[in-house]
């Protein structure tokens, strides 16, 4: 039942949507409205949304359901994280001369993401996804005023995204055609109930597989990753900062909802597939990154490898694995945001290795903070990346999936090379030109970088242990109770 308490968690998207409408009107009728002014106003809206979601958490309102939407611990936590990152993003970009529409578009994307993480039916999820994606396509294309390459990137992203969405819709139609329902709850109940009825389940699994393709595309996993390097390289750095953080978190949470819910009975099958794709992504991201000379392209491959870890952790379908995946992706998003924020201190454009050679001379703090993020991405103890990788490894090893862990270890070793190479170039190499690296003064990026670096480096004290324990406990509640520790579901196919 929807409660109409003033602080209902369901208010979060409602508040956001309302403020968005206000901003649209404000932008349309006030000629002096700019990106900065809207972003500034949006900060307050976001604070209220975070408040609403945070209180759900703190006061433990339990689970609220609207038709097609569910508001529980997971969606509240995701809302807080997403809005927090959005806040950081606005603070970071407040001073940019972006068009007004950019602010509206990212807010629409955020609304889509909030719907994604709270979606309780395939249709609602799809709507959220499309709202987010379409907003992002345009958001990237908007940058074409300064960087024509961004238009090409946006087009590529759009067309490939549309293909992936189409496949996803096809999968959904398979499921709907088979079972006649779209809600997660009813779908799960039907699948559990009819687990032994075989011919129907082939279409079900096919449908689930195609839906996963859409997710894998969003998360940049091999072989659906092709857009990532091109978009990362062509779009301006602040846009990449956004692309590489918030949508990954939203997509992961939405994927967790599906895998822990309706697709849980199918996990024995889908799990292996996810592990193969995870292993491919980790290896591809590590190996293909070796040849890169553009920093943003390199980060694209890094993303591909990192997302491989997330999917590997999800594939085991245990509270530990899924909880680790959630923490992993949040830590990754914070790291990525911080890293790109610091790169903005050098330039909004793409940077080659030469451009940051000897950065430590121009700005030691930038170079060393970047090194912190890179080391964390590489999984160096005692940075956050080490602990999240560790818990991922532990949960996957508990499921005795040794091959994929081996691939992950191999990937870590190889990827270590390019992370360390960037550090070496920044700190130990001489500047490529005589005047050294020229810094672009960017007000908010340093405090944000410092905050993110703090998060990454004291992670094992706060909030790491609490976050991990909380995420795993949350997943234990969310996963079907009888099989909370390991799926004992019989395989959904029969030989016929």
């Amino acid at each position: 039942m929807l409660s109409f308490l003033p602080l209902s968690p369901a208010l979060s998207p409602v508040i956001l949507a309302t403020s968005l409408l206000f901003f649209v009107v404000y932008g349309a009728f006030r000629s002096r409205a700019s990106y900065g002014s809207v972003a500034f106003l949006a900060l307050f809206a976001l604070l209220i949304v975070m408040d609403a979601a945070g209180l759900q958490f703190a006061l433990n309102f339990g689970t609220d359901r609207l038709p097609s939407l569910v508001f529980d611990g997971l969606s509240s936590a995701a809302t807080v994280v997403l809005c927090g990152m959005m806040l950081a993003f606005f603070v970071l970009t407040l001073g940019l001369a972006w068009p007004l529409e950019a602010a509206l578009l990212v807010l629409f994307a955020l609304l889509g993401m909030l719907l994604m993480v709270s979606a309780d039916s395939l249709m609602m999820f799809y709507m959220g996804l499309e709202m987010q994606s379409l907003a992002l396509y345009v958001f990237i294309a908007l940058q074409g005023r300064q960087q024509p390459a961004a238009i090409e990137a946006a087009l590529k992203y759009f067309i490939l995204g549309a293909l992936a969405s189409g496949l996803m819709l096809l999968g959904m139609s398979f499921l709907y055609g088979q079972w006649g329902v779209l809600g997660y709850g009813p779908l799960q109940a039907l699948l559990v109930q009819h687990a032994a009825v075989s011919p129907a389940l082939l279409w079900t699994t096919l449908g689930a597989g195609l839906i996963l393709v859409g997710f894998l595309f969003k998360l940049s996993l091999v072989p659906f990753h092709m857009w990532t390097p091109d978009v990362y390289q062509a779009a301006p750095t602040p846009v990449v900062a956004f692309l590489s953080s918030l949508p990954k978190v939203a997509a992961t949470v939405a994927l967790v909802r599906l895998l822990a819910g309706p697709f849980y009975p199918l996990m024995p099958d889908l799990g292996d597939m996810l592990r193969i794709i995870g292993a491919l992504s980790m290896l591809w991201g590590a190996l293909a990154g070796l040849q890169q000379t553009s920093l943003r392209r390199l980060m694209a491959y890094s993303t591909i490898a990192q997302m491989g870890f997330v999917v590997m952790a999800l594939s085991v379908a245990t509270p530990e694995g899924m909880g680790s995946a959630l923490v992993y992706v949040v830590v990754y998003a914070v790291t990525s945001l911080g890293l790109f924020a610091l790169l903005m201190r050098v330039s909004d454009n793409d940077l080659s290795f030469n451009d940051v050679a000897g950065l430590v001379k121009a700005s030691p703090v930038t170079a060393y903070l970047l090194a912190v993020f890179l080391l964390s991405l590489a999984g160096m103890p005692f940075f956050a990346g080490f602990f999240t990788k560790l818990s991922v490894f532990q949960s996957v090893l508990a499921g005795q999936h040794y091959a994929v862990v081996f691939a992950a270890a191999l990937s870590s070793v190889v990827a270590m090379y390019y992370y360390l190479r960037v550090i070496k170039v920044m700190i130990f190499d001489d500047p490529a030109t005589d005047q050294g690296v020229v810094m672009a003064n960017h007000g908010a990026s340093l405090p944000l970088g410092v905050a993110a670096a703090l998060f990454v480096s004291v992670f094992f004290i706060i909030p790491g242990p609490e976050m991990t324990a909380f995420a795993q406990k949350m997943m234990a509640d969310l996963l079907p109770q009888a099989t909370a520790s390991a799926p004992v579901m019989t395989l959904p196919f029969e030989k016929e």
Binding site: L202, L216, D230, D269, M273, I276, L287, A288, L290
Partner: protein, 646 residues
């Protein structure tokens, strides 16, 4: 804290202080610390010598357990008896003089603190060596002095030749050390202990037992003694493993005086004397020792005749004198060997420091062909060198006369087929020694200056801090023989040595040496005088004749001048094959196989795969779409195949 511990460990503290904080302490304070440590050690050693050797109170100080496993029980202990305290007295008194001298000699060096620290380290290790109560602790000191020697030879590490010499010394000594290590293993294997008293007590238990090795059958005594002797050959630069000693002259001259003349190189002789009860039971090994000593003495003396580097001449003479000591050991005249070791330490250190003073005066010129006429320029150095040379050539009443004579007399008095041969060779070497040591004096101090004018203009007498040690050492070179004679080898020898040196039950060589015919006693002195006279004749009176003689001897001269081509032989036999093997393993096996397939292979593979994967990123949208569809198809295929299979 007993006197024994003070004497051994004060230099360790000196080394730690000077080595760790020398840079911040500064040169003056470091010199003060290391010399004070050295002086304390010297005073304590002198007191111990008086207490232990003169008053006759041998003692062993247990410091603690080192290795205790199974039947093996090795303790840290300081063994103080006549033998070790004699060594301590020699080591500390020469070392103290060298320390003082080094203050002046290293004055202009970039890092005298490091030098002084190494010197202290050396003295500590040498003291551990001579006070060892068991073979393993002796080995500790043995390796320690090897390390100090290596560090000091290569002290001027910016000189490639110094580095090469340091490495050569280290590597050649490894061969000897391997022999010593095997000897210690063999001792433990056959006697079940490495502690000296227990070892000597266990000696009769293996009487008659033999060891079969590579087709030969050897008595256990000879087998063990020969292995230990291999160690002594390395450390004491006997023929075969002598090649490192002349090259070691690359080190600063105080090092040559202390380590490569007076103390470390005599460690082999000391070791042989330490295990003398074992040698007495090993006649075959004794013969080998005698022969090796003889060959070394002769070889080094001949080479010393032809060299022009002043330090090398003295180095070869050291080698030759060590041969004397080994010959004495070989006939069982251990007191004579120790006596010669004792006197040699003083006059050889004196000669080296004197040579250092010459080199110092001539702006680091070492070639005697560039010297000459320095008698009036550096008169004190000249006088001191003269004393050392007289002692070395065995002229009465200088120290060398007494010790060399007793060695030669022992050789003559020894029983065995080699007695007269060894005496003859020994006397001939005495002749050669007198010749070449006076050759040094004539070439360096007499005649017209051959150095260029600028160098001569700068030539100056060394400061007092360098001359003073020379004076002290010259007292030893003059008096050590006369003072020590009765105690070391004379009537008081049994009371003095207190049984630390074995005496043959059947034939006391030293006793017999006192009863040789009179001409045997006079002959060495006569040939020495003849050597000096000939030297004067060839180098002062008629140099033209000398040149004709050298030309006439052509091939022989070149053979000797090139040190019998031993280095070339070793290069051919060992160094080049070893290098070839090393190259094969480094470039062939390591780089070619392990690296190529290991690290570099993995890197190349990763980069190659990465390059290929990057090529997928064509930037072409249709291709991307195709990949996306292919991926989706694979997913569907997977689901279907999986469904059909399960």
């Amino acid at each position: 804290m007993t006197m024994a511990e003070i004497s051994v460990f004060s230099t360790l503290f000196g080394f730690l202080l000077a080595g760790l904080w020398g840079r911040s302490l500064g040169v003056g304070l470091t010199n003060f610390i290391t010399i004070t440590a050295m002086a304390i050690s010297t005073a304590a050693s002198a007191w111990l010598f008086y207490d232990v050797a003169v008053l006759g109170h041998p003692q062993t100080h247990m410091l603690g357990t080192w290795i205790q496993t199974g039947g093996l029980d090795i303790a840290w202990a300081l063994r103080l008896d006549a033998l070790s305290t004699v060594m301590m007295l020699v080591i500390t008194s020469v070392a103290l003089m060298v320390h003082v001298y080094a203050v002046g000699y290293m004055h202009h060096d970039a890092s005298p603190q490091r030098f002084m620290a190494y010197l202290n380290l050396f003295v500590f290790c040498m003291m551990m060596l001579v006070t060892a109560d068991n073979l393993v602790q002796l080995f500790f000191g043995w390796e320690g002095v090897g390390l100090a020697s290596y560090l000091l030879i290569g002290f001027w590490h910016e000189k490639p030749s110094a580095n090469a010499a340091a490495m050569k010394a280290f590597v050649v000594n490894r061969v000897g050390d391997l022999g010593l290590a095997l000897g210690i293993f063999a001792v433990y294997l056959h006697f079940g202990t490495v502690q000296f008293d227990a070892l000597f007590a266990a000696l009769p238990s293996v009487a008659g037992q033999v060891v079969s090795f590579a087709g030969y059958t050897l008595p256990v005594y000879d087998f063990v003694a020969l292995l230990l002797f291999v160690g002594a050959v390395g450390k004491s630069a006997q023929l075969g493993l002598h090649v490192w000693l002349p090259d070691a002259m690359e080190g600063p001259t105080p090092v040559s005086a202390l380590i490569h003349a007076a103390t470390m190189v005599t460690a082999g002789v000391f070791l042989m004397c330490r295990v003398s009860p074992l040698l007495e039971l090993a006649p075959l090994a004794q013969q080998v020792i005698l022969l090796v000593g003889m060959a070394t003495a002769l070889f080094a003396a001949t080479v010393g005749m032809t060299q022009f580097d002043i330090k090398r001449v003295i180095a070869y003479s050291t080698c030759s004198q060590l041969g004397y000591m080994m010959m004495a050991v070989g006939v069982g005249a251990y007191p004579a060997a120790m006596f010669h070791l004792f006197t040699h330490a003083f006059f050889k250190a004196l000669l080296f420091l004197g040579a250092g003073s010459v080199i110092h005066a001539l702006s680091h010129e070492q070639d005697m062909r560039m010297m000459g006429g320095l008698r009036t320029v550096i008169p004190w150095t000249y006088r001191m060198m003269l004393v050392g040379t007289l002692a070395l050539s065995g002229i009465f009443p200088f120290a060398g006369y007494y010790s060399k004579d007793i060695v030669l007399e022992s050789l003559f008095a020894s029983q065995g087929s080699l007695a007269y041969l060894s005496y003859g060779v020994g006397a001939f070497v005495a002749f050669l020694t007198a010749f070449y040591s006076w050759r040094v004096i004539f070439l360096t101090f007499h005649g017209k200056p051959r150095a260029d004018e600028r160098v001569m203009a700068h030539a100056h007498e060394s400061p007092a801090v360098m001359i003073f040690p020379l004076l002290i050492l010259s007292l030893g070179a003059i008096g050590a023989g006369y003072v020590g004679y009765e105690a070391f080898v004379g009537h008081d020898r049994e009371a003095f040595w207190q049984g630390t040196l074995a005496v043959s039950q059947t034939h006391d060589v030293i006793e017999a040496a006192h009863h040789v015919p009179a001409w045997v006693k006079w002959f060495p002195l006569e040939v020495a005088a003849l050597g000096i006279a000939l030297s004067w004749f060839f180098y002062r009176y008629n140099p033209a004749l000398r040149r004709r003689l050298v030309d006439g001897l052509g091939a022989v001269y070149r053979f000797v001048y090139n040190k019998w081509y031993v280095d070339e032989l070793y290069n051919f036999l060992f160094v080049r094959p070893a290098r070839a093997l090393g190259r094969f393993f480094s470039s062939g096996v390591d780089a070619g196989v392990i690296d190529a397939f290991g690290p570099h292979g993995a890197v190349a593979l990763s980069q190659g795969i990465g390059a290929r994967l990057s090529r997928f990123q064509t930037g072409q949208l249709p291709f991307y779409g195709a990949v996306l569809f292919a991926g989706a198809s694979l997913v569907m295929l997977y689901v279907i195949v999986r469904g059909a299979w399960v």
